[in-house]
């Protein structure tokens, strides 16, 4: 018996894993085509990397003169993308601005994949990847705090861990129908804000601290990195969000997207301003340090490989600024997407080509070696990007249905309900009381179903809907009753993300029907109500049909998940009284089964009239 708890949480996690696996193994033709493209790129990158490993970094265009190149440029760019999550987290959590909150999780997923790519780019860049453990204490030796690269590895891994933990925690909890624990999430999310600034600052310091390279050795570098990060990261995210809106039922508000675009405009302004300040200083003072800036913008002595890149970046960034600063173009989808593309490409060129290479050209002894990535480098880099996009795609594939409440533990098909179903539900009221009694017998001090995700999420969502909705006089009664029910059974005040999901569910689920049904509640045309009908659930709750809500809510998906999870998760809550609670859980599961058996029986042939509990105080 004592093994039940680990086993059941293991099996829960296993079903999380298998559920996730199921989610990623299902998709349309576009999804598989996209995966196939990514896999091809990964295969090509892997082949190129094998060459690089066997021959050496000589297959790249890097040489002693330009000892860092495309890989490190990409690394730098992606650190900026990873920091993007913070752009979304700050307004969402600090300013409590609703619409962005639902997006935060995608920002964090993006951060996780971007850091994965960052670490991979470092890995493909080092000469001896087999020795990377040399910088991992206790076996290795990390030159901390002197080496900035050591700092960078520490902060990047920490940032990865924080985002990974937050995302996994939220998704796992959502999957099992529970709220995430604010004790875990809030401190980590708050910590991730300075950390996002930190990873990019430290990465800037990696170059900034090198007095040998005047192009980098400028105190403007770190702020400029942050400014460009605050452009490029959200640019990618805006694409992803629009895509999500289109291909999933995930609800993302226009204002959220426009708000991000507005933030990007400010960031882009600061970015261009800092670039301008740097260019002024270099050109006006015209010291020997001007060489590097000249190599980027003008070329030196006939060496001008990078010049087209430089002006493309400037043009794109300026274009993006203009498109995002004007509200009209910011809220127009065509110009918004052009702006995103311009921002992404502009910042990518600026970091990928414009930061590292001019910093190293001419080299410290004045030699100009014109670096341009080889095909091998491009293939490896494309492979790393493909891995990142693959990770991101798969995580989205798992996260979206969980957040939408589509991917949840399911044990049995919901029977098609009819008025007979309601009878079955009403009849099972004894089990419900029993269950509650059991719970109290276990010595819980709290009310039954404490923190029930169904309860606080749906209850609050309903309350919100009623506040907004044009509901008639009957609706007022329903609302009052609903509040009573909520107060009695449930804890209001839920987390917004879950709240929004439920709200989205409500919109899909037919609120109009609710109002209609509410209006002629006395008649209760139950035969018109199907079990998967949201209105049924709402009415059931409103009238306190007790078990009626169980089945109706189960139809809702997320809330059904909550119910299901509540049944499953008793072992977790009953820690310390493992065996008892586990036994109780089985009782609960039995309860569920009986309950459906009754319903099914009722559907098959019982001709009894519905014995619906009509002692509702709203009915007078």
């Amino acid at each position: 018996m004592e093994r039940e708890v680990p086993v059941s949480s293991v099996s829960l996690f296993a079903s999380f894993v298998t559920g996730s696996a199921r989610a990623v193994s299902r998709g349309g033709a576009m999804y598989w085509a996209w995966l196939a493209v990514l896999m091809l790129l990964i295969a090509s990158g892997l082949a190129a990397y094998v060459t690089q490993i066997t021959v050496g970094l000589g297959v790249t265009a890097m040489r002693d003169q330009v000892s860092w190149g495309f890989y490190i440029g990409n690394f730098t760019f992606l650190v900026g993308v990873a920091a993007a999550a913070v752009v979304l987290v700050i307004p969402a959590y600090v300013y409590d601005w609703g619409p962005i909150r639902e997006i935060v999780i995608f920002g964090e997923l993006l951060a996780v994949s971007a850091i994965t790519m960052c670490l991979l780019f470092v890995m493909v860049d080092v000469g001896r990847p087999d020795r990377l453990w040399h910088m991992m204490p206790p076996f290795g030796h990390l030159n901390f705090p002197r080496s900035i690269l050591a700092w960078d590895m520490v902060v990047l891994n920490l940032y990865f861990a924080v985002n990974f933990i937050v995302v996994t925690h939220i998704l796992y909890r959502a999957f099992t129908g529970r709220h995430y624990s604010p004790k875990v999430v809030v401190p980590l999310v708050l910590a991730s804000i300075p950390m996002a600034v930190g990873i990019h600052t430290v990465t800037a310091f990696l170059y900034n601290g090198l007095s040998a390279r005047p192009y980098w050795n400028s105190s403007i570098l770190a702020p400029q990195f942050l400014a460009s990060a605050f452009c490029s990261g959200p640019a990618i995210l805006l694409f992803v969000l629009q895509l999500l809106r289109r291909v999933t039922s995930f609800h993302i508000r226009d204002e959220a997207i426009w708000k991000i675009a507005e933030l990007m405009a400010y960031a882009m302004f600061v970015n261009l301003f800092l670039h301008g300040a740097e260019a002024f200083k270099e050109y006006y003072s015209n010291t020997e340090h001007l060489l590097y800036t000249r190599y980027w913008f003008q070329g030196i002595n006939g060496h001008h490989t990078l010049v087209p890149f430089a002006w493309t970046a400037v043009t794109l960034n300026t274009l993006a600024l203009l498109l995002f600063i004007v509200p009209k173009t910011r809220t127009n989808w065509v110009t918004l997407n052009i702006g995103c593309l311009a921002t992404y490409s502009g910042c990518y060129i600026e970091k990928g080509m414009g930061l590292i290479i001019p910093g190293l050209t001419p080299d410290t002894l004045g030699e100009i070696y014109e670096y341009y990535p080889t095909l091998t480098e491009l293939r490896v880099a494309a492979g790393v990007f493909a891995i990142g996009f693959l990770v991101f795609t798969l995580m989205l594939k798992v996260a979206v249905p969980i957040v939408l409440g589509e991917l949840v533990r399911k044990t049995e098909q919901l029977p098609v309900a009819s008025r007979q179903l309601w009878i079955g539900l009403a009849n099972s009221i004894q089990d419900w009381k029993l269950a509650t009694g059991n719970w109290q017998l276990l010595g819980r001090k709290r009310r039954p179903w404490p923190g029930d995700p169904f309860g606080d999420a749906l209850g609050e969502a309903l309350a919100e809907r009623f506040r907004e909705g044009a509901v008639g006089a009957q609706g007022q009664l329903v609302r009052r009753r609903l509040r009573q029910v909520c107060r009695h059974h449930f804890i209001p005040g839920l987390h917004d993300m879950r709240f929004d999901v439920h709200e989205a569910g409500l919109e899909r689920g037919g609120v109009g029907r609710l109002d209609r049904l509410a209006a002629d509640r006395a008649a209760l045309p139950l035969e018109k109500v199907r079990g998967d009908d949201l209105g049924a659930g709402l009415i059931g709750i409103a009238l306190d049909l007790r078990n009626a809500w169980l089945i109706a809510v189960r139809a809702l998906g997320p809330a059904g998940a909550g119910l299901e999870a509540n049944i499953r998760l008793f072992p977790d809550r009953g820690r310390g009284r493992v065996a008892d609670v586990d036994r109780d859980t089985r009782g609960f599961l039995g309860f569920g089964a009986d309950h459906y058996a009754l319903a099914a029986q009722a559907i098959r042939g019982a001709n009894r009239e519905p014995e619906i509990d009509r002692q509702d105080d709203g009915q007078q």
Binding site: M1, E2, V55, G56, L57, G58, T60, M62, R63, D64, Q65, S67, W68, V122, D125, V126, G127, R128, P129, R131, L132, H134, M135, P138, F139, G140, H141, L142, N143, R146, S147, I148, L149, A150, M153, L206, Y207, G209, L210, S211, A212, R213, E288, L291, L360, P362, D363, T364, L365, G366, E367, G576, R577, V578, A579
Partner: protein
């Protein structure tokens, strides 16, 4: 609860066992696994050297000795180069390549001689490292040989994430080729282009291998690591001059113990006007340039 009570110690014991196993594995790896040469115990260094000697001798078909000579007390090496004497013959480069087992294909050269315009003085942006006239010195040109400046404030050792490069007590900045991960931070940090990376596996004909090696110096490098001038640590710690000093046909190169008042290097420092490359970077090189005549 009773079940819990009997169960809990089990878990703890298991946890303890795994922690202990991890600790033991960690200890073994730390104690017996590869180790930075910076902190390697003497006995393990001797064993490593015996292994290297055996392997290298086998590989190159000649008796290779790997010295473990440490810094001598009271010695701080310094280097001086007379810019007015250097005629750009690049004999030093050849000697250095031969002495220090630098890759012949692709070519790795620790010394880089820059040909500069006398009108402009020392101006790196106008320097030509690939000068190839029929005869040196060319009219109107002068030559600035560069190599590792063995800074007293070296930017390269500071940035190394694994501590694979450091300054020895006698002032020589060395690299542990077996510990370097090849991130090339040091190359970005070095203001003198002194550090070179093995972009592919270095190639040296066995016949050309110098069998007198030092564990921190000219023993063969592998693909993917950084290398640089060690002031011929295998020679200088045995009381000899670096190969470049010995070979210089004009006697432009001076080397010695900065702490010895009677040394040649002290004479140069006390009697000549010396200059440092990129002095404004505060790297404090122990490599001094001067105009002797």
């Amino acid at each position: 609860m009773a079940n819990d009570d009997t169960h809990t110690p089990d878990m703890t014991r298991r946890q303890f066992a795994s922690v202990a196993a991890a600790a033991a594995a960690g200890f073994l790896l730390t104690a017996c696994g590869p180790r930075r040469l910076h902190e390697i115990p003497r006995d393990r260094l001797r064993k490593a050297i015996a292994d290297w000697e055996r392997d290298y001798s086998q590989k190159y078909g000649k008796t290779v000795t790997v010295s473990d000579g440490g810094p001598m007390p009271g010695v701080l090496f310094a280097y001086a180069l007379d810019l007015s004497r250097c005629n750009g013959s690049r004999r030093c480069v050849e000697a250095c390549v031969a002495e220090n087992n630098q890759s012949r294909d692709p070519q790795v050269q620790w010394i880089r001689v820059l040909s500069m315009n006398k009108d402009k003085g020392i101006d790196f942006s106008d320097a030509d490292p690939y000068y190839a006239p029929a005869q040196v010195p060319e009219p109107g040109r002068f030559y600035v040989p560069t190599a590792c400046q063995h800074c007293r404030n070296p930017p390269c050792t500071k940035v190394c994430p694994t501590g694979a490069t450091w300054t020895e007590k006698d002032g020589i900045v060395v690299i542990d080729y077996d510990w370097c991960i090849g991130c090339r931070c040091c190359m970005a940090a070095c203001p003198y282009g002194a550090r070179h990376f093995n972009w592919v596996a270095p190639k040296i004909p066995a016949a050309d291998v110098n069998p007198n090696m030092h564990y921190l110096g000219n023993r063969p490098r592998m693909r993917g690591v950084v290398e640089k001038c060690t002031w011929c640590i295998q020679r200088t710690r045995a009381g000899r001059y670096p190969a470049c000093v010995e070979v210089c046909p004009t006697g432009a190169r001076k080397f010695g113990n900065m702490l010895d008042p009677d040394s040649e290097i002290r004479y140069v420092l006390e009697n000549k006007r010396v200059l440092l490359l990129k002095q404004e970077l505060n790297t404090m090189p122990k490599f001094f340039y001067f105009y002797g005549t």
